[in-house]
């Protein structure tokens, strides 16, 4: 790991100041992706700005019938929250399925979505639920937030502060995990909301996407059998040592059916 200067500010104003004063500064949340990246010398920030000391970025609360979760809330906190279990059990299940217990104890919601790993779980949850990302500057709809592989709509000096999740009528997440890393080979988040059915897919393509063919079939009939006649195209899907594009396309449908069945 290259050396850097470490900061642990107490307020968002201090964070903004540190970022504008140090062009090559990077933010540190749970560090479960970023510290391994630093260890491999894939990044060389001049300064690390640790967000763990900022009280306003933490916590889970009910808002407008849905949930608002602070950016530095850990996966373990989301999975273990009574409030999330009651209002949005599918999101608690998703958080519980990330990595292993030690990763969940440190990894954060804001860190995961800002990194936008193509195989991360949270992007499917945000897009599936039609969540809104709140930043230090504005609000961004989930679909506009995730722009490409490891890319988001965030500007250089913009920080995710929280995510607001509206409450769906029913929802579930089904994932086919890589057995070693527990990252999604394919993960599908299905939600039935007042505005229609949403099906968000992670792991299958360079970036989370909505499977509109599946959404249309489920809008007519919200049951696993409704997906029998629908095929998911393999064009543009990921291909690696773990799974071919065709296999991933197949898994999208299988995971979507499992999620619909689990949503009830």
């Amino acid at each position: 790991m290259y050396n850097f200067t470490y900061h642990r500010p107490r307020t968002l104003a201090e964070v903004a100041q540190l970022l504008s004063a140090n062009e090559d500064a990077k933010l540190l949340a749970g560090g479960q992706t970023f510290i391994p990246t630093l260890k491999q010398r894939l990044a060389q920030p001049s300064d690390l700005v640790d967000l763990s000391g900022i009280a306003e970025l933490k916590g889970i609360r009910e808002e407008g019938g849905g949930l608002t979760i602070g950016a530095t809330t850990t996966h373990a906190e989301v999975a273990g929250s009574e409030l999330v279990r009651r209002l949005l059990p599918a999101l608690a299940d998703l958080a519980e399925s990330i990595g292993d217990p030690q990763v969940r104890n440190l990894g954060t919601l804001g860190g995961s979505i800002s990194n936008n790993d193509p195989a991360a779980d949270y992007p499917a949850g945000l897009v599936g639920l039609g969540a809104t990302v709140r930043t230090s500057k504005r609000e961004i709809g989930a679909e506009d937030f995730f722009t490409g592989m490891f890319e988001t709509a965030l500007e250089e000096d913009e920080i995710v502060t929280a995510v607001h999740f509206p409450k769906p009528e029913k929802a579930a997440y089904a994932k086919f995990p890589n057995p070693a890393s527990r990252y999604a080979i394919v993960g599908v988040f299905v939600a039935r909301t007042g505005g229609g059915v949403r099906v968000a897919v992670t792991g299958a393509a360079p970036c989370v996407f909505r499977a509109t063919e599946l959404e249309n079939a489920l809008a007519a009939d919200f049951s696993p059998a409704a997906l029998d006649g629908v095929s998911v195209p393999a064009d543009g899907l990921n291909e690696d040592i773990h799974a071919s594009a065709e296999y991933r396309a197949h898994l999208v449908k299988v995971m979507a059916k499992r999620a619909v069945a689990a949503a009830g």
Partner: protein, 161 residues
């Protein structure tokens, strides 16, 4: 260099560290607490698991400076008054180790499980230990040890009531 101060196994310690120093490096090289092992150094094997403020974490994937002011417990902090912790005793009695390299991490990870869930099923133990690898593949006796420790700790808790 920044100075970091934390409580390790009940004792306040401090030392000068480079910001890039990992928590596991500070524990092993700074404090000589070599019970916490470094296996893969890539957050996968769990040999370096310690508790920070009551939560199990991989000490190879946390900076020492992030633990400023924290309460840290390592495998050396488990035995009280010269007698083994029930988890250590159970690994001893059930042959829960072969080479022993993964054992500190297995025990520190299992400790959080038993704090959260005093009566886990075998499946719950296996699921919880997802982040701990045993290169001897001795998983059966590790799971047996954790279940035996859970039973012993429940018995002790009942006896104390």
């Amino acid at each position: 260099m920044p100075t970091v101060t934390m409580t390790v196994n009940g004792k306040q310690v401090s030392g000068e560290v480079e910001p890039r120093t990992l928590l596991v490096e500070f524990l092993r090289e700074g404090l000589g607490l070599t019970g916490t092992h470094v296996g893969c150094d890539t957050s996968q094997c769990g040999c370096c698991v310690v508790h920070v403020d009551g939560r199990s974490v991989k000490a190879c994937t946390m900076l020492a400076v992030q633990a400023e002011g924290a309460e840290v417990t390592t495998i050396e902090g488990l035995a009280a008054d010269g007698s083994l912790h029930p988890l250590q005793q159970a690994f001893h009695e059930n042959h829960g180790l072969q080479c022993g390299f993964c054992t500190p991490g297995m025990i520190m990870s299992s400790l959080e499980l038993l704090q959260r869930n005093p009566d886990p099923s075998e499946a719950e133990v296996r699921e919880w230990l997802e982040g701990n690898l045993c290169r001897c593949t001795g998983y059966h006796n590790i799971v047996k040890s954790v279940l035996a420790a859970a039973a012993a700790m429940r018995g002790a808790a009942r006896a104390a009531e």
